[in-house]
């Protein structure tokens, strides 16, 4: 009796986990907002060397607001993930190394000297501290 109840509850939990997992995947695969994707590919925004997005040159207020919003979200993620592993700046920097490496040709990124560069097919200029 007890055993049956236990196994059924385990099955229930398993089902719940499956549903949650599916929901998690759905969230994880949420793609970039079309406006953000367009701003990236047109070079209005670029990846900074510190793990945040930057506005390249002078851009409309809507682009600036979008960058601010995304950077706030990034900061929240960095803060959460860095806990117990390093500082927020270090986590953001490690992410920047990856993000700059992953930029697509045509997108903007910030070189170690702070200048904006357009990604080509060649490897991007990255901070020597990047792994």
């Amino acid at each position: 009796m007890t055993k049956t109840r236990f196994s059924s509850s385990v099955a229930l939990m398993g089902a719940a986990a499956l549903v949650l997992g599916a929901a998690g995947v759905a969230v994880a695969q949420e793609a970039r907002d079309p406006a953000y994707a367009a701003a990236r590919s047109s070079g209005q925004v670029g990846e900074q060397r510190d793990g945040y997005l930057g506005v390249v040159g002078s851009q409309p207020a809507a682009v600036q607001a979008m960058v601010r919003d995304l950077n706030n979200k990034r900061r929240a993620i960095y803060t959460e993930k860095a806990a117990g592993k390093g500082t927020i700046e270090e986590y953001a920097f490690a992410t920047a190394c990856r993000l700059i490496a992953q930029t697509a040709p045509g997108e903007k990124y910030q070189a170690p000297d702070g200048s904006w560069q357009t990604r080509t097919a060649a490897a991007p200029q990255r901070d020597p501290r990047c792994p």
């Binding site: 994880a28 695969q29 949420e30 793609a31 970039r32 907002d33 953000y36 995304l70 979200k73 990034r74 993620i77 993930k81 860095a82 592993k85 390093g86 500082t87 700046e89 270090e90 986590y91 920097f93 490690a94 992410t95 190394c97 990856r98 993000l99 992953q102 501290r129 990047c130 792994p131």
Partner: protein, 95 residues
């Protein structure tokens, strides 16, 4: 003779007994002359702080602060790199 020499080499004029001893030493030393006498005399008088043989050390008035953790630590960056990769994948909309 030994007494004044020993006390005379102590920091000048900070305790109450010192001026008497030091001045008597200065008088004594002045008779004998020599550089130590000049040095002791100036220390007692407190007029010209520096003469040959007197060394003045000034302590900084602000506390010494050693700032650690200024730079991004490279070994930490290496450790965080894989984690960062996963974070990017998990939050595609933001990155």
């Amino acid at each position: 003779m030994i007494g004044p020499q020993l006390t005379g080499s102590d920091p000048a004029a900070t305790n109450l007994a010192m001026p008497k001893i030091a001045s008597s030493f200065a008088q004594f030393a002045a008779v004998r002359s020599g550089r130590r006498a000049v040095c002791a005399a100036t220390m007692v008088a407190g007029l010209v702080p520096m003469l040959s043989g007197c060394i003045q050390v000034t302590a900084p008035d602000k506390p010494i602060v050693i700032e650690l953790n200024v730079n991004i630590r490279q070994e930490v960056i290496y450790q965080l790199s894989a984690d960062a990769e996963k974070t990017i994948k998990d939050n595609e909309g933001v990155f």
